[in-house]
């Protein structure tokens, strides 16, 4: 019988609601005639009965509780612990998002310096086509490998041109979205590993500078740290900041993959004296991060603004965006040629990027994913003859050497990762970056939560992670038969023909005589 097992929820609820009253009465009798200890239960049940009365007959906000009473609570309780249960017990090793357990475990092991080899076979689903690295019949010898080297600002002949010596960098994460301990651990690790770290749009990088190292200062749309009262650029402040020795480059942020085209609001409650000082904003009023730089309204004003930053800072200056419309990018590139003002680097952020906080619809539905955008930007730069005048950075879930290798083959010169380094710091993907409750003390300002994040210990993890990534790069590079990262191109990746990537596979730059 198909109905035999069906549960009549209403009947059950009625029985449950009457049941607790009856049970309470029984306990009262038992307390009186058998042992006074029964009254412990009587009292508990009195509470439940009262609460249940309130749920059913007084409150009106929760329909389920009003209709069914206390047994409906089970649903709320189970639902509230659902994410944890799924993460701990039921999610398979490869299905969690944004990063599956397999992906996270790889970073954890690298960060802890544990051997990351696996046995028996891949856990990935090979019938679902992913991009793969293409190896060569003739792997290169480790001895022939050339050291990694990318010079930013070389095309403009800058004295301040900066040489990047490792293929990985720490992508923008502001002080504000990260706490002080996390920032310092990252900065200390970056310095030791010899990699560049982006400060994020959190204003004056006080905690970064405590550790020394090489930084890219990010100029967000609110220009925190270098703004005047109206939120426009304060040239003197920028010049002062750029003169600091550890600041090596400037990145003007136009948009970010997790929330392209979206500004933000820093509510006044969150503006502590510390944040107000570093971001140079007043206390006691909300501060708006506009969706665009106030100075930039079209291609002409945008390129002029880039030129202005280059002039004022005297440093290699680039732009960061998540690709939206290609026609706009084309117009922007042409305007660059027109004004003879070319940024020294372009950071392409994929729509899959992370964030401290963003509206869900922007995270999920706006912007082009990295592996779509990167070849488009690369090609367009070639078509406009600008590719040799700048370098490309790429970000978007590039947390393992394999993914990074793919990005490097699809057009990137150097890769960025933000969340890879968060995982290295011990992020457990609790998805609470926006609530100040980060259980591992990374994305929080609570002193007691940050206490668990030991700066020295985690700086070591950052170094281990970088070393393991670079080791992976060398091994993969050798497998592709190349001896230098800059020799990688689209020959080195297999692009499955999916609806979205079909066009990519046919891109002309993929063909090249095998060296």
């Amino acid at each position: 019988m198909s109905t035999a097992l069906a549960i009549d929820l209403e009947k059950m609820a009625r029985a449950a609601n009457v049941g607790i009253v009856v049970l309470c009465g029984l306990m009262a009798l038992a307390g009186h005639y058998v042992s006074f200890y029964f009254h412990f239960l009587t009292v508990t049940l009195i509470f439940v009965v009262l609460l249940n009365y309130y749920w059913r007959h007084v409150q009106t906000r929760h329909a389920l509780l009003a209709n069914f009473g206390w047994i409906a609570q089970f649903r709320y309780i189970v639902e509230s612990v659902g994410p944890e249960l799924r993460q701990y017990l039921f999610a398979s090793d490869t299905e969690e998002r944004p990063f599956s357990r397999v992906e996270r475990a790889e970073v954890y092991r690298k960060a802890k310096g544990i051997d990351a080899s696996e046995a028996f076979g891949s856990l990935l689903d090979f019938s679902r086509s992913d991009i793969k690295v293409r190896h060569s019949f003739y792997p290169a010898d480790q001895a022939d490998m050339k050291p990694f080297e990318v010079v930013v600002g070389a095309a403009r002949g800058l004295a301040s041109a900066y040489t990047i010596r490792r293929p990985v960098m720490i992508s923008a994460m502001s002080y504000g979205s990260l706490g002080e301990h996390a920032v310092r651990a990252l900065a200390r690790g970056a310095k030791r590993a010899g990699i560049v770290m982006n400060t994020g749009e959190g204003g004056f990088p006080k905690y970064h500078l405590m550790e020394g190292g090489d930084f890219i200062f990010q100029l967000g749309t609110a220009k925190f740290g270098v703004r005047d009262e109206e939120g426009r650029l304060d040239e003197t402040k920028l010049a002062e900041l750029a003169a600091l020795e550890p600041i090596k480059m400037i990145e003007i942020k136009f948009s970010q993959g997790a929330k392209p085209g979206k500004g933000g609001l820093l509510p006044k409650e969150k503006i502590t004296p510390k944040i107000a000082e570093l971001r140079t904003v007043p206390m006691g009023q909300d501060v708006v991060s506009p969706a665009h730089h106030l100075e930039c309204k079209d291609a002409a004003s945008t390129v002029a603004f880039i030129g202005r930053i280059q002039r004022v800072s005297g440093l290699p200056t680039g732009i960061k965006f998540c690709l939206g419309r290609t026609d706009e990018l084309r117009a922007l590139l042409r305007e660059m040629k027109q004004q003879d003002t070319v940024p020294d680097f372009i950071t392409v952020d994929g729509a899959e990027g992370g964030t401290g906080a963003a509206p869900k619809s922007f995270m999920d539905y706006v912007g082009l994913p990295l592996f779509e955008a990167l070849p488009l930007v690369d090609d367009m730069l070639r078509e406009e003859g600008l590719r040799e005048r700048l370098v490309i950075f790429a970000a978007g879930k590039l947390i393992s050497p394999g993914k990074q290798m793919q990005a490097l083959s699809l057009g990137a010169d150097v890769v960025y990762t933000a969340r890879g380094f968060m995982l290295a710091l011990g992020c457990i993907q609790a998805l609470e970056c926006n609530r100040n409750t980060c259980p591992v003390g990374i994305a929080t300002h609570h002193p007691h939560l940050q206490k668990g994040l030991d700066i020295e210990e985690k700086a070591g993890r950052v170094v281990n992670y970088v070393e393991a990534l670079c080791q992976g790069h060398r091994e993969l590079l050798s497998a592709t038969g190349r001896t230098a990262t800059r020799d990688l191109n689209r020959q080195n990746v297999y692009l499955p023909v999916l609806s979205g990537t079909a066009a990519l596979a046919a891109l002309p730059n993929g063909e090249e005589a095998v060296a």
Binding site: F36, Y37, H39, V43, F47, L51, Q59, R61, Q73, Y76
Partner: protein, 138 residues
């Protein structure tokens, strides 16, 4: 958001009385021993209730005041049941040899009981949102 002084006052009053009540239980004050003997719970029940009172008192004076108030209300509910069904009002005098003394310590203890109940309920109501699990629905 400033929490009204009244809530903190109520927490302090209820919390201190609960701690004092716990102290009496642990010391084995004659009044307590007698009461728990009459309930047939001497001495296990006396210590058990003492522990609960200690816990409730500490919680009322801590960030877990909402839970503390709930626990207090529970223990006090038990006390009311005890007085209503077994002990009667006179037992509260704590002096078995003078059974009908309705004034003095008895009245004092009863007043304290009433005060704790009022304070605990006030705290419970004003902090109901902080209760785990059910807080959101209240």
């Amino acid at each position: 958001m400033r929490r009204p002084v009244l809530t903190y006052t109520a927490q302090a009053v209820a919390g201190l009385i609960m701690l004092y009540a716990a102290l009496l239980k642990f010391q084995g004050a004659p009044m307590s021993v007698e009461a728990f003997s009459a309930l047939g719970m001497e001495p296990t029940g006396r210590y058990l209730i003492g522990c609960l009172e200690l816990l409730a008192g500490l919680m009322l004076l801590s960030p877990f005041a909402a839970l503390g108030a709930m626990l207090t209300a529970g223990v006090m509910c038990g006390a009311v049941i005890a007085h209503a069904t077994r002990l009667g009002i006179s037992m509260a005098s704590g002096d078995g040899s003078v059974p009908q003394s309705t004034l003095g310590p008895g009245i004092f203890a009863l007043a304290a009981l009433g005060l704790v109940i009022v304070c605990a309920l006030y705290v419970l109501i004003s902090r109901r949102k902080e209760l785990p699990f059910i807080g959101d629905t209240l």
